[in-house]
C-alpha cells in the first residue's frame, strides 16, 4: 500500500460524478475551474453528504442550488420541473447521488487496500450555512457546470494514524 496520497481521488470522483449525471439524469457536466462556490452557496442551496470509515475515513459533499436540485429531480423522475416541489423527493435524489458517488469511491478505496464502510447519506439545506471539515490528509474541491447551473463536489480523506 503506497498510502492514500497515491490514489488519484480527483480524476476518480470527477468521472464518477459525471457518470451519475449522464446515466441517471441524462445531463452532461463540464468541469468548471475555478469552482464557482458563490453560485451554489448563495441563496437556497442543498448539501448532500456521505461518509466512509475504516482503514481510511472521509466525506463526500455535493453542493447544488435548490433550483438545480429540483431540475435534477425532475430529470431523474421524468417529470416537469414545476412538479418537482416536494422536499422529500429533492432531498432523496441528492442523497442518492451522494450515495452513488460515495459508493463508487468507497469501492475504489477498498480495491486499493483501504477497507472501509459507507454511511447513509445526509442532507442539509437552507440559505445561510457553511459546511467545513478540518484536519484531513487529502482535500479536493471540484467544480462542474451543466448548461445553466454550477455544482461542487468536495472530498475529504484521512487515514486514522
Amino acid at each position: 500500500m503506497s498510502g492514500i496520497h497515491a490514489v488519484d481521488l480527483k480524476s476518480f470522483v470527477t468521472h464518477s460524478f459525471k457518470n451519475v449525471f449522464k446515466t441517471m439524469l441524462s445531463m452532461q457536466l463540464a468541469p468548471e475551474d475555478p469552482p464557482n462556490r458563490p453560485s451554489v452557496t448563495t441563496g437556497q442551496h442543498i448539501v448532500g453528504t456521505v461518509g466512509f470509515g475504516g482503514a481510511v475515513m472521509g466525506n463526500v459533499n455535493i453542493f447544488v442550488s435548490r433550483e438545480f436540485a429540483r431540475e435534477m429531480t425532475a430529470a431523474m423522475l421524468g417529470m416537469p420541473v414545476e412538479e418537482a416541489r416536494s422536499d422529500e423527493e429533492v432531498n432523496d435524489l441528492i442523497g442518492e447521488v451522494c450515495n452513488m458517488v460515495g459508493g463508487d469511491l468507497k469501492s475504489r478505496l477498498c480495491d486499493a487496500g483501504f477497507t472501509c464502510s459507507l454511511s447513509i447519506p445526509s442532507i442539509t439545506f437552507g440559505d445561510s450555512f457553511r459546511v467545513e471539515s478540518k484536519g484531513w490528509d487529502r482535500h479536493e474541491l471540484i467544480g462542474f457546470r451543466s448548461s445553466r447551473h454550477s455544482a461542487l463536489l468536495e472530498v475529504y480523506v484521512k487515514t486514522p494514524n
Binding site: 457518470n19 451519475v20 446515466t23 441517471m24 429531480t73 431523474m76 423522475l77 421524468g78 422529500e88 423527493e89 432523496d92 435524489l93 442523497g95 442518492e96 450515495n99 452513488m100 460515495g102 459508493g103 463508487d104 468507497k106 469501492s107 475504489r108 477498498c110 480495491d111 477497507t115 459507507l118 447513509i120
Partner: protein
C-alpha cells in the same frame, strides 16, 4: 396473472425508477423501504422477483437476502441486487449468496429490464383500466364536495392506485374551483399502516392544493387512528353529513 415485483430500497427515487421501468409490463410493483419491511412484503405477497438495495437502515439488503435464503417458502424467489459499491469483495460477496444478478448504480430502467429478461419473460400490459374508470371507483361528488371513499381493504397496491388518481382528481378540482373533500374510511375493515400512509398523503395533497378536507370514520376507527402518531391529531367526523356540516 401479473408478475409481482418487490422493490426494496430506502431511496424513493430508486423505487420510482424501478416502478417506472416495469410500468409498460403486466406487473404489480410493491415497495419497501428497508429489509424488515421487505421481508414482511415478501412473506405476504410472495413476489415473482425482488429488486434489492444493499445499503439501507434498519436491515441491510445482505441481511434480508440471508433471511430470504433461509426461508423455505421464499428462497426460490429470484433476486437482483442493486448496489452503489462495485468493489471486488462486495461483488464476490453478493454473487456467492445466490442472487440471480446484480447491478451497480447508476443504472437506467432499461438496463434493469435487460437483466430481468435474461431469466424471465415480461408480458406487455393489456387493456389497462382507464384513469377515469379507476377514479370512478373511489370518487363521488355531493354538491360542491368531492367524496373519496376508501375500499374495505386498503393494501399497498390500493394506496398506490388511490394516490395516482387523487393527484389527477385534485388538479381537476382546482380547475373546477372545487375546494372541499371528504375522505370516507367508514367502510374500511382494518386500520393498518397502508391506510395511515394513505390518509396522511391525501391530507398533504389537499393541503398543498388548498382543498379543505375532513375525515369520516366510525368511533372505533377514530380511536384506532389516535393510536398512530401520524393521525392522532386528525379530527374525525362520524358521518358524511357531519363532515359536510363542518367543511
Amino acid at each position: 396473472m401479473a408478475l409481482k415485483v418487490l422493490t426494496v430500497d430506502d431511496s424513493k427515487t430508486i423505487r420510482m425508477i424501478v416502478k417506472k421501468a416495469f410500468q409498460p409490463y403486466n406487473c404489480v410493483v410493491f415497495e419497501a423501504e428497508n429489509g424488515v419491511e421487505g421481508l414482511a412484503a415478501a412473506t405476504k405477497e410472495k413476489p415473482g422477483l425482488i429488486i434489492l438495495d444493499i445499503t439501507m437502515p434498519v436491515m441491510t439488503g445482505i441481511e434480508m437476502l440471508d433471511r430470504l435464503k433461509g426461508d423455505a417458502t421464499l428462497k426460490e424467489i429470484p433476486v437482483i441486487m442493486l448496489t452503489a459499491e462495485s468493489g471486488k469483495d462486495n461483488v464476490v460477496n453478493i454473487v456467492k449468496k445466490g442472487v440471480k444478478d446484480y447491478m451497480v448504480k447508476p443504472f437506467k430502467g432499461e438496463d434493469l429490464l435487460e437483466r430481468v429478461r435474461k431469466f424471465m419473460t415480461l408480458e406487455p400490459k393489456t387493456e389497462e383500466e382507464s384513469p377515469e374508470d379507476k377514479a370512478a371507483k373511489y370518487f363521488t361528488q355531493v354538491e360542491d364536495i368531492v367524496v373519496l371513499t376508501l375500499p374495505a381493504k386498503v393494501t399497498r397496491p390500493v394506496t398506490v392506485e388511490v394516490e395516482g388518481v387523487l393527484q389527477t382528481k385534485i388538479k381537476d378540482m382546482t380547475a373546477a374551483q372545487l375546494k372541499k373533500m371528504i375522505l370516507d374510511m367508514g367502510g374500511v375493515s382494518e386500520t393498518n399502516v397502508s391506510l395511515i400512509k394513505l390518509i396522511i398523503t391525501a391530507f398533504q395533497h389537499c393541503l398543498k392544493a388548498n382543498v379543505a378536507v375532513k375525515l369520516v370514520a366510525s368511533p372505533k376507527q377514530g380511536e384506532e387512528l389516535k393510536g398512530f402518531q401520524e393521525t392522532s391529531q386528525i379530527a374525525v367526523a362520524d358521518s358524511i353529513d357531519a363532515a359536510r356540516g363542518s367543511l
